[in-house]
């Protein structure tokens, strides 16, 4: 912290990133955003972080936001509820 080339850039970044991580987690996209401090002299650390994070992302699978949204689960539940209600009403 404080070693940033842009003086206070990382102070601002960590606030925003931590906040964003929390919000994404809240709405079900947790774990897909990562922040690390790596200086331009730390090539090995860079490789390590990128490799680890790539592995994590792979294990999480494709983002639910990619491609078409799958609402079949919603449709099925809707159907069940409609049926249940029509039974109740006779």
């Amino acid at each position: 912290m404080g070693d940033c080339h842009y003086l206070y850039g990382n102070y601002m970044t960590i606030k925003r990133m931590t906040f964003l991580q929390e919000i994404l987690k809240f709405m079900g996209l947790g774990g897909r955003l990562h922040l690390d401090w790596i200086s331009s002299a730390e090539a090995q650390k860079f490789v390590q972080v990128v490799t680890d994070f790539t592995e994590k992302i792979k294990s999480l699978g494709p983002s639910p936001l990619s491609g078409e949204l799958d609402l079949t689960v919603v449709e099925e539940k809707c159907q069940t509820i409609v049926e249940a209600e029509s039974v109740e009403e006779g």
Binding site: M1, G2, Y8, Y11, M12, I14, K15, R16, M17, T18, F19, L20, Q21, E22, I23, L24, K25, F26, M27, G28, L29, G30, H34, L35, D36, W37, V49, D52, F53, K56, P64, L65, L69, L71, V73, V74, K77, C78, I81, E85
Partner: protein
């Protein structure tokens, strides 16, 4: 309705020994306008059977007899901020509930209003069993239908309950809610603390304008991020939303994060939210992968 109002108990301190609270309120506004304590007063007036926000002026102080208080809520402080932007020296009086007061604090903090030019009259709002009634459109929670409970998010839910779903379920439920959005901008337009002249939600490079539905979930998350350290939990956005998206819950979470991370209680503080301060007092560390 006015007859009924006159029987209400006294919600604020009175000067005379009149029997009707409502007359006192009206007299007070009338006097303020006449003696020049305020130039205009923002309150509510019944127009063709609808309680609408109204600007009472010193040119016509006797109109204050038509001032009413009821469940209707509008962002009077937002109107005040807009008026003040045009006429910086004008002295504005307005009716405030607790939520209005918090919004006013935020507007003061962000230099949208000058507290020296604002006079307020508090009105009854927060519910209590000791009171006969509260004047707020939000007091009785709406009932949530079975379908929404099953696949979406119940608007009456607590943040903690909403976090109990599994990650995948949370995602599906929120997307179900966001997908209903018809991009009416009602949440932004009613919001008392939304005052930016240029809004990211209408910026072509950030969020495509002119298409419906909006990009999900970017549209809602951008607004949520902007509510951090600003939202005063008045619930007007949710009142305004035609498709019942649980916005208040989302913004509560946002503010909870701000409160946990920075110990910043929105609407209670005289300094701006830590998102906009360059100070180096953060003790946060990057999270492990």
């Amino acid at each position: 309705m006015e007859e009924q109002i006159k029987e209400w108990p006294e919600p604020f301190s009175t000067t005379g020994n009149k029997t009707s609270t409502f007359d006192n309120l009206r007299d007070q506004v009338n006097a303020w306008l006449k003696e020049g304590r305020v130039d205009i007063f923002l309150g509510y007036k019944m127009v063709q059977g609808h309680p609408l926000p109204h600007c009472f002026t010193k040119e016509n102080p006797d109109e204050a007899d038509e001032l009413i208080v009821g469940k209707a809520r509008y962002s009077l402080e937002k109107m005040a901020a807009n008026i003040a932007a045009q006429h910086p020296e004008i002295k504005i009086g307005l009716l405030v509930r607790d939520c209005n007061q918090r919004a006013l604090n935020v507007l003061y903090v962000w230099n949208q209003l000058n507290p020296d030019h604002v006079e307020t009259i508090n009105i009854n709002c927060c519910p209590s069993r000791l009171k006969e009634h509260g004047d707020c459109s939000y007091l009785e929670p709406q009932r949530t239908g079975s379908y929404k409970k099953e696949v979406g998010i119940d608007n009456n839910m607590d943040v903690e309950d909403a976090e109990e779903f599994s990650q995948e379920e949370r995602f599906n439920r929120w997307i179900y809610e966001f997908e209903k959005c018809i991009k009416c901008y009602g949440c932004r337009n009613i919001c008392p603390v939304c005052f930016c002249q240029e809004c990211s939600l209408e910026h072509n490079d950030l969020i495509a304008t002119g298409t419906v539905p909006p990009e999900v979930p970017i549209f809602h998350l951008v607004r949520a991020v902007h509510m951090a350290g600003r939202c005063i939990d008045c619930g007007l956005c949710e009142d305004a939303c035609p498709v019942d998206i649980p916005l208040r819950l989302l913004y509560r979470k946002v503010n909870q994060v701000v409160s946990d991370m920075f110990d910043y209680k929105t609407g209670m503080r005289a300094d701006q939210s830590p998102f906009n301060i360059l100070g180096d007092e953060v003790t946060l560390e990057p999270k492990p992968i």
